[in-house]
Subunit: 456 residues, 2 copies
């Protein structure tokens, strides 16, 4: 109560009575979600009945149908599909790698490995000596040694980053561009340390992109323990490895964004979008990435309808078709928004896992930030505060046609995300019910405040 | 940086240069812990090599020896044992309960069940009809129906409490006192809904206390799913159950607090104590409760020594012998502190799980709180802020002889704790390495600041 009082004293825009009314409404939403929330049960269905949902797969198509059916059951003003083309990458087989020689002596040590998404097949078994480098600087210094080798990048996370997304940013460049950086100097294959925080040996896949002007060599991620062992061996001697991958592309697939809408009562032409992405990698259930964002989006819709909330602005609940290996879902949504001359005021993405929520990130003007920050005392009882820096791969496309749209995102605690991100361990069992629901509570609360008070 | 600047502008006591120095020292501690931390490996040893550590068990005695040996290896100024007597409760057998009748018709439905800690055996199989009540109010209203029955208390958590410890507080009274409350009116046994947030059927044990003036009837916790099913059946009809427990007490056991000490260079007579408890329940590995607090305590000692930190005050690192079913470890520590006329200025307890840290709670004067709150900008990069309300069952005994001692505690995120608290699921695999280490970082940072600036 003292916090709310403090807020009221410092607020020029919102009267005390309104603050109290807002806290009561938010409490009702929170009670509804924590008591009757369906997000966890929906996530069980999505992960256990449908499973992994790589773009182009039957599972991904089933997930869209499932999302449409379930959102229709919550009875919004409308639900519609937005057809879009997505990449259709196929892993093609069971990726393989092994150490077969050390300083000229034969040895056999199988490595836990996954081909990176979009990586092409090796056309049979490749065998070569390893050139292990700490980073691109070392690669450039040793470029004359690269030809004919398999390059290993030691893209291990820096554990001193408290926010693990910063470590992901620093190491992620090796996954995305390492293959072509090494191919430029004649490498025949690339291995990276999985982008992982887990004290285990599960390899983590994830998207990579070829430079079209260079040979497209196969690229794999090693399990963390195997990667450390390989790197230690390669620093002391000559390590020879074999690898085989099978990746290829089928023609682009027909997928769908699924959009539910609550029509605004006062500003129906102004749109608030919230969403996550339906697709996942093939090796797991996509429970945190991004089943969590999908079911939180659906939960906010369910809750607004259950409480008979009539928004002032139009609110869209979007299950984006494809984020992981192409970003085609968000691109299609933005393309149609531009085509239909839609006015979007804010978009929020939940795509950082279903962990306990810590913040609502916003990318906006300083004046808007000052406004949003005033809502922190209303959010704090549910675990979050408003911070600078929000957005996401799906909603980000919207800024391509209108830079005034506020980009926002749910920021869950980041400590566990990269234990399982893109690894086989991203399964339903690793999602906590209360943490997942609490994320939905904070999205609902923030979107309610945006709807009540706008963004300016 | 802007946060630190803001802090400096508002601080009368600490100069800018010092704030920067503090942030540098704290970053060094954090880097050391996140990079070279041993807490996770120590926890693996404690949970996997030693296992569950009920007071009086050989495992608990081994754990003290293990703790002493490992703290000695970190080379503090001294390590010593504080012998103490603890209860020696024995579960005695595999607790049993089943539904055997519904509205007079025989049926058989086994129930997942654990006797509550300190509960006595049933002396054979008990069979009786169930009186299911929502709470003590309903028990009082229906006291005439109690005689000869097994009373079920629906002590399910209220999911709308965002801080799960509040739900534990509200429901915990049924575990602690339910048996005697029902025995007063002639009940022959008691069942409660496990104090659990988990969407599973694992029963949760935990301590209970008999009113010595009343019959000591057996008390058990049902798995959450079984509890809900039983309650639903009992509201509609007459449910007959069987139960059998085997609990008894051996003579009090000889256990030890383990204390490591770094001698203060400026105020050696002023003591700062940090700690957790070595004992656990018998049905799990005591990984979060309180293996986490134990290894975080050891980690802070290790880090201070690794960085060659010379504290101004004397710092004690205490592995308390017995918290769960008697609180004898903390009682002994306080008894000796009083006897030896020790001057304690602050004690910090970590006994809320090894989850991602959210706050440092403090119980102190308003002036002290104002001082501690100034440190929030230094802690926030590592996830915590200083909040009112700190303490714990072990350190709490110290206030019995000196009410001026500041009580503090690490407050980890509470969403997952009661999924596994006192259940078989409290095992090493459910502890996250980074979350555990980050707890140690925040304890180290706060204790460093207390040591540098005192408590007044």
């Amino acid at each position: 109560m003292s916090r709310l009082l403090l807020l009221a004293l410092s607020l020029p825009f919102i009267a005390q009575a309104q603050v109290n009314q807002d806290s009561i409404t938010i409490k009702k939403m929170a009670d509804e979600i924590m008591t009757n929330g369906k997000a966890y049960d929906l996530l069980r269905e999505l992960t256990k009945k449908i499973g992994g949902r790589l773009a182009g797969s039957p599972q991904q198509q089933n997930a869209a149908i499932w999302g449409k059916r379930n959102m229709e059951a919550f009875n919004p003003d409308k639900v519609f599909m937005q057809p879009c083309k997505t990449p259709n990458w196929q892993r093609g087989g069971k990726d393989f790698a092994a150490i077969v020689g050390l300083d000229g002596k034969a040895t056999t040590q199988k490595l836990e490995v996954l081909a990176l998404g979009n990586s092409l097949g090796s056309n049979g078994l490749i065998e070569a000596d390893v050139l292990a480098v700490a980073n691109f600087d070392e690669l450039e210094k040793r470029k004359d040694e690269v030809k004919g080798k398999i390059v290993y990048f030691n893209s291990e996370f820096d554990p001193t980053y408290i926010q693990t997304f910063k470590a992901y940013g620093a190491s992620g460049v090796y996954r995305r561009t390492g293959a072509s950086r090494a191919a430029k100097y004649g490498a025949v294959g690339v291995m990276i340390h999985s982008l992982s925080t887990a004290p285990d040996n599960a390899p983590h896949t994830g998207t990579m992109v070829y430079d079209e002007t260079l040979p497209k060599i196969p690229a794999v991620a090693l399990g963390p323990n195997d990667a450390k062992a390989l790197y230690a061996m390669a620093k002391k001697g000559t390590v020879r490895v074999q690898m085989q991958t099978y990746g290829f592309f089928l023609p682009d697939a027909d997928e769908n964004n699924v959009v539910a809408e609550l029509k605004g009562t006062e500003h129906p032409e102004e749109i608030i979008t919230i969403g996550g992405h339906l697709d996942s990698w093939d090796v797991n259930e996509g429970a945190h990435d991004d089943g969590a964002g999908i079911v939180q989006t659906m939960e906010v819709l369910r809750t607004m309808k259950a409480l008979n909330y009539q928004p002032k602005h139009t609110i869209r609940f979007v299950l984006f078709a494809n984020e992981e290996n192409g970003g085609k879902g968000g691109a299609k949504y933005a393309e149609l928004a531009k085509l239909n001359k839609e006015k979007h005021i804010l978009a929020l993405e939940s795509d950082a896992g279903g962990f306990t929520p810590r913040g609502i990130g916003v990318t906006c003007t300083p004046a808007q930030f000052a406004k949003f920050q005033q809502w922190t005392p209303l959010l704090k009882p549910y675990g979050t505060e408003v911070n600078t820096g929000g957005g996401g791969a799906d909603i980000g496309h919207l800024t391509g046609y209108d830079k005034t749209i506020v980009m926002s995102s749910l920021s869950p605690d980041s400590q566990r995300y990269f234990d399982l991100h893109h690894a086989k361990t991203d399964v339903f069992e690793n999602v906590n019910k209360r943490e997942l629901l609490l994320g939905a509570v904070n999205i609902a609360a923030f979107i309610y405040l945006v709807d009540q008070y706008g963004v300016n």
